[in-house]
């Protein structure tokens, strides 16, 4: 044998030489797993098994609360878009995937609103900085929905209508009527 080979001494005694006890011990381990998983998974007799595998399309793992999915735009109480077209999110976006064209809002208290709000989901790097930057809780990424596959690249660009489709009225106060944040502490 070559010098680099480390020869491991055989365990002594009849126990070590026959391996029968070691074989029985090993089989007991595998048998224990079999007896836990077989009645539970195949026969459905017990709830708890050791099986970690999920049958994917039927069973899905719940995403954590902070998962970042597809964007959505939130709504005011009257159903209008919450966004005031302040251009914070396209400014902070590292992938330049947000396009906003502002316009005059008919409501004088709101002053400004987006005429075009588009997000190119193919360019988006899902960093979440737009959500951080938004001063009025207008854009969120909490949908837990993946960007769907599209046949054409243009289809991956979501317009305001598509973004508002998942939107809900936000409970955040808007327009400076709430308490000053420093006074809360």
């Amino acid at each position: 044998m070559a010098v680099t080979v480390k020869v491991v001494a055989r365990p002594a005694g009849i126990r070590g030489h026959t391996y029968l006890v070691a074989v029985a011990e090993g089989m007991w381990v595998t048998f224990r797993h079999l007896m836990k998983n077989f009645p539970g998974n195949v026969l459905g007799l017990r709830k708890k098994t050791d099986i970690a595998t999920l049958s994917y399309p039927e069973e899905k793992q719940a995403y954590p609360a902070r998962n970042r999915g597809l964007h959505r735009l939130m709504k005011r109480e009257n159903g209008d878009v919450r966004c005031v077209a302040c251009m914070m999110c396209p400014t902070v976006c590292p992938a330049h995937c947000i396009t906003i064209v502002p316009e005059e809002a008919p409501d004088n208290a709101v002053e400004k609103r987006p005429r075009i709000f588009e997000i190119d989901e193919l360019r988006c790097v899902v960093c979440g900085l737009c959500v951080e930057a938004c001063p009025c809780d207008a854009i969120r990424m909490d949908t837990k929905v993946h960007a769907p596959p599209t046949l054409r690249r243009a289809d991956a660009i979501l317009d305001m209508e598509a973004l508002l489709a998942r939107g809900e009225p936000s409970i955040a106060t808007q327009g400076g009527t709430g308490p000053f944040w420093r006074e809360k502490v």
Binding site: N37, I51, S55
Partner: protein, 379 residues
């Protein structure tokens, strides 16, 4: 209806005619091989994957559903068969065409033939099938055994050892170095363990005083503590037989001819149903070795209260029950073999030969001497 059928058979096929023997043997081997061996082998191909998954905390194949019929993925073996039949049948350009085609047949046929000597149920009483017939009083018994040979288990060993030709030919005909290595390994391994297997069962020949498996079952009692395994030489013979049988089947921990992580083995060039025949042959060998172990060591079809049931139930129902009990025993033993296969790691070729020739063979010869002494002094 049933009486007229019996009357027809009694008139045209008397019990001691050659025609009756041939007809019964044909029927028994057809029902047994197609209805039990092939079916169980198919199920075992699925069970091997599913059971191993359960042992390793995985799910395993559970998706081959036929509409609403799910059956835990049991239909995977049907899907596998369909896949193998419709797969391209590739023969390597430099392979020997004849030997390449012959090898899978030579691997599968012997293991099917070897099942002929296995008794798979209590004898059916010819002409008294609807009456209750106590055990051992029937005048015209139809043994549930395709061939009742005096050579018995020697026939099994003789035929089963022919399977080595299939593996060696597959390795040789493939024109592939890995296949050839696998074939050579298979040859050395199967030759080595054949001897131990025969010697282990020879101890049982001495204990029973017969070679015939049907007679061995008759020599055992109905209750579990009256079965053949109880006794020092018998228990040693069982461990030796089990070890040698697994080595003979070329399964882990003795899957050196296959060795899927190093050489793919003697069937590396095979595809489609030709590969399927090797695969099926392997699983049929599990069933056959399990059936032999059940017959010799675990009482064959015998089960507690068989005597009472035989004296009270109609004969055909009792025979059916005994076949069911035998099938259950064989099935459990197959599951036990799968448990071994998915627990132990593979041996090295030198360890395998050392274990075979230096440990198991001397031990099995000593066990024959021990069994002879046991028989001599226990009578």
């Amino acid at each position: 209806m049933a009486d007229s059928i019996f009357a027809f058979f009694a008139r045209h096929l008397p019990y001691d005619s050659a025609g009756f023997a041939a007809f019964a043997a044909l029927l028994k081997s057809a029902v047994f091989i197609l209805g039990f061996v092939m079916l169980l082998a198919g199920i075992l191909t699925w069970m091997e994957r599913r059971q191993s998954a359960m042992m390793q905390d995985r799910l395993g194949p559970c998706r081959a559903n036929l509409g609403r019929f799910k059956a835990w993925g049991l239909l995977h073996f049907v899907a596998d068969a369909v896949k193998m039949i419709f797969k391209e049948d590739f023969i390597p350009p430099k392979a020997s065409k004849l030997l390449f085609a012959l090898a899978p047949m030579l691997a599968l046929a012997p293991v099917l033939i070897a099942t002929a000597v296995i008794p798979f149920g209590a004898p059916l009483c010819y002409g008294r099938m609807t009456e209750a017939v106590p055990l051992g009083v029937c005048a015209l018994p139809v043994e549930m055994q395709a061939a009742r040979l005096d050579a018995g288990l020697l026939f099994y060993f003789a035929i089963a050892s022919l399977a080595v030709y299939g593996t060696v030919l597959a390795g040789w005909a493939s024109h592939n170095k890995w296949a050839l290595m696998g074939g050579m390994r298979a040859a050395s391994q199967m030759m080595s363990y054949e001897v131990t297997m025969g010697m282990a069962v020879m101890a049982m020949f001495l204990v029973y005083g017969t070679l015939e498996p049907g007679a061995m079952v008759n020599a055992q009692g109905n209750r579990p503590w009256q079965w053949g395994i109880w006794g020092v030489p018998q228990a040693i013979a069982f461990v030796l037989f089990l070890t040698a049988a697994i080595a003979e089947n070329k399964r882990t921990p003795f899957d050196i001819p296959e060795g899927e992580s190093e050489i793919v083995g003697y069937f590396v060039e095979y595809s489609g149903m030709r590969f399927g025949m090797f695969y099926l042959g392997e699983f049929i060998e599990i069933i056959t070795s399990s059936a032999i172990a059940v017959t010799v060591f675990f009482g064959g079809w015998r089960f507690p209260f068989a005597g009472t049931l035989a004296a009270s139930w109609p004969n055909w129902l009792f025979v059916l029950l005994s076949v069911g009990v035998w099938s259950l025993k064989v099935f459990l033993f197959c599951a036990f073999q799968l448990l071994i296969r998915w627990t132990l790691p593979r041996l090295r070729p030198d360890q395998l030969l050392k274990l075979g020739w230096q440990r198991l063979l001397p031990l099995s010869i000593a066990n024959v001497v021990l069994a002879a002494g046991w028989v001599l002094f226990s009578r």
